[in-house]
């Protein structure tokens, strides 16, 4: 080995020792930070657990969640509810059904409501918001007009209280699980639309987009290849947060008597609202589904917050 290369190697070695690890792309950097976040760990674990229960719950449930197996026992006991015991880990509900089985099966319905409504809100909201943002940023006069119309519509939806929106949907479609999903999904639309639009406008004003335009890159390509991918961060964070909101909103709808009337498909929100009548006598009947909802919502929220922090450029070192 020649003296010069030796010299250079030694230098290189010393140099790498002090040079800080250079950050990769936005997403790899965010992922790295997400992995080291305790909040993400807790949130992710809760979410994973919930999804596993939702998937396998109905198969591992020890009893039929709708069978009123211990009906006689409950009714002869009148007013004294049966709490946790060997056969029924979480006790019985007011009709003598096994609470534990109902909780397991209910997880699936709850997840279904959350996911379907969030997907609905995301798809429609992102379409409206993306179209609006792209039109305003790159569509000239006509685009501006399109944006105004779309945003007025979104404003209108924001002006409607979410519960009444749900009532209106229920009034037309009748009362069913689909109604709950649509109602909760519709509530999310303006949030997604505004978020994506705002995020796209911020990107559209940045220097790299200006550079791309100056170089004559076609507008469609700028939007699809540059602006949109870079704008998605906050929207993806919102998706996680929206799942939490959806589960809570669905519970509120059930409480107002707009939930799924089909008793054979237990859902945590419905269970919670049914239990409220017996709250003073047997609070645990309400506490189980409530805890299910709270913990799940907390898990999604924690994960969402952790993602938001991981993606925040202000916090990037």
């Amino acid at each position: 080995m020649s003296k010069t290369t030796e010299k250079i190697d030694r230098l290189a070695e010393l140099t790498t020792r002090t040079t800080t690890a250079s950050g990769g792309s936005l997403w790899t950097e965010a992922l790295r930070r997400l992995r080291s976040s305790k909040m993400a760990l807790v949130g992710g674990t809760v979410m994973a657990l919930f999804i596993v229960i939702a998937i396998v719950g109905p198969w591992v449930a020890p009893y039929d969640p709708t069978a009123q197996t211990w009906r006689d026992e409950v009714f002869t006991n009148r007013g004294v509810f049966i709490g946790p015991r060997g056969d029924n880990w979480l006790g019985l509900d007011h009709l003598g059904r096994d609470m534990f089985s109902r909780m397991l099966v209910g997880a699936r319905q709850t997840l279904l409501v959350g996911v379907v409504s969030t997907v609905l809100g995301f798809v429609v909201g992102a379409l409206v918001g993306g179209l609006s943002g792209a039109a305003l940023a790159f569509g000239g006069k006509a685009g501006q007009r399109l944006d105004t119309v779309l945003m007025r519509f979104i404003d209108m939806m924001l002006a409607l209280p979410s519960l009444l929106l749900a009532v209106s949907v229920a009034a037309i479609l009748g009362q069913s699980l689909t109604t709950v999903m649509i109602a909760v999904g519709v509530i999310q639309i303006p949030v997604f639309a505004r978020l994506l639009r705002g995020s796209m406008l911020a990107q559209a004003g940045s220097d790299y987009v200006l550079a791309a335009r100056a170089l004559g890159v076609r507008r469609r390509r700028i939007v699809l290849a540059h602006v949109l991918p870079n704008s998605l961060g906050p929207v993806i964070v919102q998706t996680t947060l929206a799942l939490a909101t959806a589960i809570i909103e669905a519970a509120a709808l059930s409480y107002l008597g707009l939930g799924n009337p089909d008793a054979s498909q237990p859902e945590w929100g419905v269970m919670l609202s049914q239990a409220q009548r017996f709250f003073d006598a047997e609070p645990m009947m309400a506490v189980y589904p409530a805890l299910g909802i709270i913990i799940t919502a907390l898990g999604f929220t924690l994960l969402g917050e952790a993602m938001r922090e991981a993606l925040d450029p202000k916090l990037r070192s």
Binding site: M156, A159, P161, L164, A171, L272, Q276, I294
Partner: protein, 334 residues
């Protein structure tokens, strides 16, 4: 300033018009059409035919819309199917209760939330910060009505510290002037009535405050953290100003800007929350009334409420804009 208000009001017109078209379409989409919307689902066939004739349902759609709009402008939302009284009157009568409750909730949220968020940011990473952050996360994730149950069960039923339902204890002889019971008691010097009404406000107020409180804590904390890192705070420190001046004039004043917007927007959403809270505590405001209307599919009431909320939302937005332009000089000029 006046120009800003006028411009904002003009901008509202298309939104409200669009909303009215939407509502009109909704009424016509209802199973049974607008007749059942006015009569409820249990109307007889004769009633239905009579009302359809009266409404002129044979007329072209735009004539019907125009006629409907003309009634709306006069605040004629029709009559409640359940009580048979005009919807507008029902609202006006119940309005003070809900405003009182919403005000109590917002007061709790602001008075507790802003200091908590501020100190959480200043003492970032301490137990106080951790408690505030996790508390606000939980606050967002607890269904409001469930929190209402818990509060009622613990503080009213078990401990018996506070009343469990209603706005007023039976046997209280209070003079009603404004309909705001706490205020009425103060005006007439009936301190016991005022105190009683205040006690009735605590639990529903707390339940309703949970979400705005959680949101305000989070926004304030994030905002203060942002501002603490700003160059102008460093400038203020470099001038050797007293800590009180640095924190008040330079940190808080700027940090509160986003909080003001949030408080405004939350006020609108409080009314949705009031529907849940009031029904848990049988608090006789608009919320309970709407809850009953949902149960009985009292469409005139629901429609009136939607319009009412939309107007309120729009008015609050306008107020927020005006407030913002007063406290932020950068907006004022543009």
């Amino acid at each position: 300033m006046l120009r800003l208000i006028v411009r904002r009001l003009l901008q509202l017109i298309p939104t409200l018009l669009g909303l009215s078209v939407l509502l009109f379409a909704w009424l016509h989409q209802l199973p049974g059409g607008p007749a059942s919307a006015l009569l409820g689902e249990r109307a007889t066939e004769e009633d239905r035919r009579a009302i359809e004739e009266a409404l002129g349902l044979d007329d072209p759609v735009w004539v019907q819309y125009a006629r409907w709009m003309e009634r709306l402008v006069r605040f004629d939302f029709g009559e409640s199917v359940r009580t048979g009284r005009p919807v507008w009157e029902e609202f006006l009568q119940r309005f003070p209760a809900t405003v009182e409750l919403a005000f109590a909730a917002m007061l709790i949220a602001v008075v507790v939330g802003i200091p908590l968020g501020y100190f959480a940011a200043r003492r970032r990473g301490t137990w106080l910060d951790l408690t505030a952050v996790s508390g606000s996360l939980i606050g967002i994730c607890i269904p409001v009505f469930f929190l209402g149950f818990i509060l009622r069960a613990v503080f009213a039923v078990n401990l018996g510290w506070l009343p469990s339902f209603g706005r007023q204890s039976t046997g209280i002889d209070a003079t009603e002037i404004t309909g705001f019971y706490v205020l009425d008691g103060l005006l007439t010097g009936e301190w016991d009535a005022s105190w009683d009404a205040l006690q009735h406000l605590v639990l529903p107020g707390l339940a309703l405050a949970s979400i705005p409180l959680a949101v305000i804590v989070r926004i304030t904390r994030a905002s203060v953290l942002d501002v603490l890192g700003e160059d102008y705070v460093r400038t203020a420190e470099s001038k050797g100003l007293r800590r009180r001046v640095v924190r008040g004039r330079h940190v808080l004043r700027n940090a509160l800007l986003p909080v003001v917007t949030t408080v405004g927007l939350l006020t609108g959403s409080l009314l949705s929350g009031a529907v849940l809270t009031e029904s848990v505590f049988a608090f006789g405001g608009i919320g309970s009334f709407i809850r009953d209307a949902i149960d009985t599919r009292d469409y005139p009431v629901l429609m009136g409420f939607i319009l009412f909320i939309a107007l309120l939302y729009v008015a609050i937005n306008l107020l927020v804009d005006i407030a913002y332009s007063i406290i932020d000089p950068r907006v004022r000029v543009n």
